[in-house]
């Protein structure tokens, strides 16, 4: 596995290309950011907001919300700095942690916004988790798809044309880059979000895996993404705040901690000082560990690389952190196995088939023994929940 000569991302990271100096495309994208005329983009943002401000509709836009740092900052910025009246929409993937729920309460009441929350039933989610783990080595299909489909479908239903996400994917991957403002549309959904699986596909997959179970396509309704035709005809435009203001994670986290009393949390597999990243989901540690098994790197590599690109961390310090935190089996994996009703060996065999060249699967012994000692505060509660 070769690594970027600047950050510490390896070539197994999806979509990375490397230039002749061995610098990865995401590092170059962050450099591109410096050449953007942000003053012009600020004007574009005001024009965009003005264009969609509709006296008829109570809401100026939809803000998809998880309670995490990005959606919280986006919401804060739009409400307090741009005086927007948004409809806040959350897809509850069933693994929202206590801290994030508290943060959400605080944020919603401080910003005084309307909030729609949808929590699909877990019976279906369990099926999709197992199916997507087996087929793509990623059990989070319902979340990737749900958090994207829900705001878009709500927009269509309530005739709210503008949707503002927060962080553009160019910040961490190269499906797109900073040369053009990013848009959430059918292409992006199918290229980089849904694992190549639409609701209609998942339906066929589950039906074939559980032929004797009662299961209808209605059960997957929250996961249907509308057609390009419906989106264009209804003038739905889903954009990213990060197209119009330079995204700066550390600065933004400081703001939401100060202005909204947003609190961080400790996440499995990353150093405690990164208390702001991916704190929403109980299964985050397992998700990152699976990525480590497949691709040979975990979330610490990702976070350290972001810091390197923003001149906040030196490369050798980054490598130290990576060695310390990446690749340790998290406690939440036991929870995952319990939920999916599979054992260690079955899990190992499933992931073995998903390894990405040139990474190689760790040995079964290493998988069983190299464990993390960290136990998240809330994990017992989750074990109780899924008894």
């Amino acid at each position: 596995m070769k690594k970027c000569s600047k950050c510490v991302m390896p070539d197994t990271a999806e979509t990375l290309t490397f230039d002749k100096n061995g610098v990865c495309s995401v590092c170059n994208q962050i450099e591109q950011k410096k050449n953007i005329d942000w003053d012009k983009r600020a004007v574009d943002l005001d024009n965009l907001i003005k264009k969609y401000k509709d006296k008829k509709n109570k809401y100026d836009c939809i803000v998809p919300f998880s309670g995490g740092k990005d959606s919280t900052f986006a919401l804060w910025y739009l409400v307090t700095q741009k005086k927007i009246n948004p409809l806040v929409v959350r897809f509850d993937h069933n693994f929202l942690r206590p801290t994030i729920l508290e943060n959400t309460s605080k944020v919603l009441s401080k910003l005084k916004v309307d909030f729609i929350d949808f929590k699909p039933n877990f019976k279906v989610i369990r099926k999709t988790m197992l199916e997507s783990l087996k087929r793509r080595g990623d059990f989070c299909w319902h979340c990737h798809v749900g958090i994207t489909a829900l705001p878009i479908n709500t927009a269509l239903e309530k005739k709210i044309e503008l949707i503002f996400y927060g962080e553009p994917s160019s910040e961490y991957s190269s499906f797109y880059d900073y040369t053009k403002p990013e848009e959430l549309n059918e292409e992006k959904f199918n290229r980089s979000i849904n694992l190549g699986i639409n609701a209609e596909d998942m339906f066929e997959m589950i039906k074939s895996s559980s032929p004797n179970e009662e299961f209808s396509i209605e059960d997957l309704k929250p996961y249907f993404f509308p057609s390009s035709y419906d989106l264009k005809k209804n003038k739905i435009f889903a954009s990213y705040l990060g197209n119009y203001i330079p995204w700066d994670v550390k600065k933004q986290v400081e703001i939401i901690k100060k202005e909204l009393d947003w609190k961080g949390d400790r996440v499995e597999g990353i150093p405690p000082e990164y208390d702001y990243e991916k704190i929403e989901c109980m299964m985050q540690g397992s998700r990152d560990y699976i990525k480590f098994l497949k691709r040979g790197f975990g979330r610490t590599t990702h976070l350290a690389s972001i810091d390197i690109r923003n001149d906040r961390l030196k490369r050798d310090n980054a490598e130290e952190l990576v060695n310390l935190y990446d690749g340790k089996r998290p406690k939440s994996l036991d929870l995952l196995l319990k939920i999916l009703k599979i054992n260690e060996k079955e899990f190992y065999e499933i992931l073995k088939k998903q390894v990405v060249y040139p990474n190689e699967m760790i040995s079964y012994e290493e998988f069983q023994s190299k464990k993390s000692n960290f136990s998240p505060k809330d994990i017992q509660g989750w074990f109780e929940k899924f008894k």
Binding site: K134, G137, S208, P358
Partner: protein, 244 residues
């Protein structure tokens, strides 16, 4: 020109399936949405073979699904499976395919190629040959007596636009191509050739391109693994191949 990454899909009673050595098929997805997603990931072409009409030519090919797929993605489409008459071929074009895939019928009625080429042009015809290795020799699945290289020559002269070689004994195994065989086949014809059967990982695609192969068909890799076409192409771009 560009190297081509082609999705090779099998249609079975209106659903997409994939197996090993053309057996034990598992559901892969729903044609319309699956192909839409491939197009968004920048697949170069999509090949769909109707297994039902392929295995029993009395069954009418699934033009309806072809038509739905053609409407769902702005990507070049090739359709095959039981296209054994000019009428069926016409219906395939009218239902939205850009090319037709002829395989079994070539053994009994190779004149169909000329008839088709006259109306649609030779570039609209892809000839398929199913092969397996028996005692170190390349054999045609449907006719083990025929000499493979003679058959290759005959097909090339019939007026088809390109040829697709399916390594049936390697299909779904992730064992990669037999590069020596591929090189030998490439030497013996001037037409564009698509190779398929056995590709299971990124390095195997690399090996294929390094050996002079220009077009590969992917089946297993895009069915049961996290191998997004866009990601595959980004990986290959790091090795300086001409990739779209």
């Amino acid at each position: 020109m560009y190297k081509r990454i082609i999705a090779s899909l099998l249609l079975d009673k209106k659903k997409l399936v994939k197996g090993i050595n053309f057996k034990n098929h598992k559901i892969v997805g729903f044609p319309r949405t699956y192909c839409k997603s491939l197009g968004s990931q920048m697949i170069d072409e999509i090949f769909i073979c109707d297994l039902n009409s392929y295995n029993d030519s009395r069954i009418i090919p699934d033009y309806k699904t072809l038509s739905e797929v053609s409407s769902s993605t702005m990507t070049p489409l090739t359709f095959g499976g039981g296209l054994n008459t000019l009428d069926r071929i016409k219906l395939s074009f009218n239902s939205g395919s850009d090319k037709v895939y002829l395989s079994s019928i070539l053994h009994t009625n190779i004149s169909l190629v000329e008839q088709t080429a006259k109306i649609y042009g030779s570039q609209s015809i892809v000839a398929g040959i199913n092969v397996e290795k028996i005692k170190g020799k390349i054999k045609i699945l449907e006719d083990k007596e025929k000499n493979f290289f003679n058959w290759l020559n005959e097909i090339e002269n019939s007026g088809v636009g390109e040829i697709k070689i399916n390594f049936v004994d390697r299909e779904g195994t992730s064992n990669g191509f037999d590069i020596i065989d591929c090189k030998e086949i490439l030497k013996k014809t001037n037409l564009p050739i698509i190779f398929e059967g056995g590709l299971g990982s990124l390095d195997q695609i690399k090996d294929a391109f390094d050996s002079g192969i220009d077009s590969v068909g992917l089946g297993r890799m895009i069915s049961f693994e996290d191998n997004n076409i866009f990601k595959i192409k980004q990986f290959l771009k790091n090795y300086n191949y001409e990739i779209r």
